[in-house]
């Protein structure tokens, strides 16, 4: 049992650590670093692995855990947000020059961040290459409903990313 759990974790992290990290990046809001969330996700996956039933693919199951952990952490952070002092702003002395790739990435993450929680989870699973069938099984809605929602989400995301012409 223990050996099986260890080998599942090894396989998962070898093949999907970048995907799990990308999920963490979407939810990391300053001062939460993606690395902090990534650690939480690994610990939660380790705790939950004895209960993994193999009715979903291992990585699909792990993505849903990552989404749950990150979403919970962000909600906790947002609650604390009431205590933030808006009058205080910390401005870096010199802003690093961002290249085009960084700007595109930032814009994509911002637009994903603007989506509603359920929409955000679906688009992340879609971008990670999950089929509508798998997305339906982990999100508890039908495959047809996923297709309808995805059409709407894609439209929103494209609108957010496309500069509006005057």
């Amino acid at each position: 049992m223990q050996e099986q759990i260890e080998s599942q974790l090894k396989r998962l992290l070898n093949d999907h650590k970048q995907s799990l990290y990308r999920i963490c990046k979407v939810y990391a809001v300053n001062p939460m670093e993606p690395k902090d969330l990534f650690q939480e996700v690994i610990i939660e996956i380790w705790r939950a692995l004895p209960r993994y039933k193999e009715d979903a693919k291992l990585h699909t199951w792990a993505y849903t855990i990552a989404l749950r952990v990150c979403s919970r952490k962000k909600a906790q952070y947002d609650k604390k947000d009431n205590l933030r002092l808006n009058a205080l702003t910390v401005i870096p002395v010199s802003l690093p020059q961002e290249d085009e790739v960084q700007e595109r990435t930032k814009a994509l993450y911002q637009c994903i961040g603007h989506l509603a929680e359920k929409e955000r989870q679906l688009i992340i699973l879609h971008l990670e290459g999950l089929a509508y069938r798998d997305m339906a099984s982990v999100s508890g809605i039908t495959e047809n409903h996923v297709a309808v929602k995805m059409k709407r989400i894609r439209k929103k995301l494209l609108a957010c990313l496309t500069p509006k012409s005057k």
Partner: protein, 96 residues
């Protein structure tokens, strides 16, 4: 439509590349050791509290249970205890 598809491909590409700004170095064997040492006490506490709840439930239902049921439950509890000791005392033994 074609323009949207093109844009969508770009989005997918940007997403795929978006974790490439960091290198995720994981010493997997060390990580597992660390997880064992950090997570086990939590599991232990959790299993212990489960055991305490079972005991409490048995105690509160004592009058309702037949002597045979009591004996079975006592045997089950013994078995859980043994399994618990086997799992956790083995896992927490110092390495090397």
């Amino acid at each position: 439509m074609e323009k949207n598809d093109q844009l969508w491909n770009t989005i997918q590409h940007v997403w795929n590349e978006s974790a490439n700004d960091v290198t995720l170095e994981l010493q997997i064997d060390e990580l597992i050791q660390e997880l064992k040492s950090k997570v086990s006490p939590w599991e232990k506490k959790w299993v212990k509290s489960d055991l305490a709840q079972i005991k409490e439930a048995i105690h509160s239902d004592k009058e309702r249970l037949s002597s045979r049921e009591k004996r079975w439950l006592a045997q089950d509890l013994q078995w859980i205890k043994k399994l618990f000791e086997k799992l956790f005392s083995k896992r927490n033994k110092p390495q090397g």
